[in-house]
Amino acid sequence: METLGLLLDGFSTSLSLFNIMIVVAGVTAGLFIGAMPGLGSVNGVAIVLPLTFLVPPESAIILLAAIYYGAMYGGAVSSILLGIPGASTAVATTFDGRPMAQQGKAGLALITSAVASFVGGTVSVILFTVFAVPLADVALAFGPAEEFALVLLAFTTFVGLGNDNVYKTMVMIMLGLVLSTVGLDLISGQPRLIFFDLPGFYSGISFLVLAIGVYGVGEVLYTIETSNKNTEVTNARITFAELGAGLRELVKLWKTMTLGSLIGFFVGMLPAAGATPASLMAYGMAKSSSKKPESFGKGNIEGVAAPETANNAASTGSLLPMLTLGIPGSPTTALLLGGMVIWGLVPGPMLFIEQPDFVWGLISSLYTANFASVIINIALIPLFVWALRMPTTVLCALVLVLCIIGGFAPSQKMHDVWLIVAFGGAGYILRKADYPLAPLVLAIVLGPLMEKSFRQTLIAEQGNIFAFFERPLSGTFMCLALLFFLLPLIKYARQSRLKHTPITSS
């Protein structure tokens, strides 16, 4: 009941005319960013973050969250109309969305994805509201030992649950962490890792510089490579009759959509998982529980609804650990966290106590963003069809300009612009060689917290390294972290045993 009161207070913040305008602007921008092939929520947030200095901090975060939200809706648009996922999170939507479009049902597919996204978003925002306060209360008991253990746990999920090569994942985590230590030592204040004695390194390497580099410049280089193929935009027209038919069709899918929302929300909370695996899982579940599994992949409406509920639910799910624990659940939320820190709003349980107006304003803005997204998404479909015809060279040129100028703006140092160029090139090559980028960005954001909590604990415990295992909460996290870390080894051992068994038996 108390939560409801807080939420209502939040609405008094988020329903101010200015914040409604912010949400509408953010959602619209997000929809277009998400709809563009290659650009997803993380690219959008990275590129737009420097521009948000225009508005006060609270509104800036609401704006970024709205972009994040809109991009999740928008990803489906190019999956359906182009057959290319607008973002990796919308991969599963191409499976049935593209066939539907080719059968002339592009409009229905777009309505389905928008409404399914709305359902997924709404269910997960309600879950978010319910879980936020209890989780923040638990987090209040956290000391530095727990903080360190939790950050470690976040990284080990990438090793244990990620689908990428374990060594490459480790490389990216370590690279991010080492880059986060550049600058002044947190405790002694001495300079360290000042490469080539460049004064620019004294202030450290901002997560934003890295993010704009790999997700802005690097992404453009990657797009240049993949966009050589010609694509065809399927036309989509929406009539009110189709809208009504779509809604009637969707009511029958309530079971798939509920399941998709739940999968999305809980999978989204895990740092290594997130929206892409969640949507693939939801698609798989819908297919295996369907009475006509053979119709999937050939334009089954359920195959659009399931992944779209899940990826939207996952985006809200990954906000939960970021806001309550201060540990982001995805690269996009890592950037949101970094942005909040810049503005002096440090996420974590204390935020709920010190800045309740802001926290509940943000949470309630998710409700309005969701509502705005579904309406704007359906209303702007003709505009998307037009925008998707825009040549990629125009889009890439503008994104590069935004990266360079936007990269200069926050610190106003050419040093940072050069770093962005360097990170862009390096990020492109690493990504091409299948190194995952998400752990890199998470590591540079969480690195300072990880080092600080590690050293604080050891100073407080007079160097007793077992302190991390002696406290019940941090001990649990540490054991879980150890388990995730060893998971690839266990998998490897089982695989090689399976390989050897037939040989010995024959």
């Binding site: 521009l51 200095f53 225009l54 090569n165 374990v166 060594y167 490459k168 480790m170 490389v171 370590m174 690279l175 962490l177 080492v178 230590t181 030592d185 405790i187 002694s188 001495q190 360290r192 890792l193 000042i194 490469f195 410049v217 453009v220 280089l221 240049i224 490579e225 050589n228 040549p391 060279t393 125009v394 890439c396 040129a397 503008l398 590069l400 300009v401 360079i404 100028i405 200069f408 703006a409 106003q412 050419m414 612009v417 050069w418 160029v421 862009g424 090139g425 492109y428 090559i429 690493l430 091409k432 060689a433 080092e451 590690f454 050293r455 050891l458 100073i459 007079q462 160097g463």
Partner: protein, 163 residues
Amino acid sequence: MHRADKNISLVLMGLAIYFMWHAKELPIGWVPSDGPGGGAFPFWLSVILFFSALGVFLSALRASKQKANIPFFEPETVSSVTKVSIAIFVTVAIMATLGTYVALLLFLFWYLRIFGKHSLKLTAIITLITPVFVFFFFEVTLKILLPKGITEPLFFPLYNLFF
């Protein structure tokens, strides 16, 4: 692909050693009563980085004996990605000397007209509107002055007008 994997991991190993060399300027071991020294965190993480990259190298070495090699770059890709990379590099270099606006005009013209082969009309519209938008958004609204190099004096009348 395996060759690229090997080369990239070698570079990463070199980078790790470079990081270690830098990190050991501060104490990397245990400082009595103070816990780990200032260099410890970056140093030991670089050690793990080194061994992870070594892992990539060794698995690439093993794989290259078993599987056929897929080329890392296609020739077409190399040429267009290299061209754009050089263009970005030159643009940033020009930013500090000839100024942001000169850099933007040249970059957009090159990208749209020469690289993208767009019509002169479209090129002209985007090339001219973008810098104006950038000026009003960043300099006038956000009060962030962009580098102008030697073209700075040209902007004095505009400064007088807007500030």
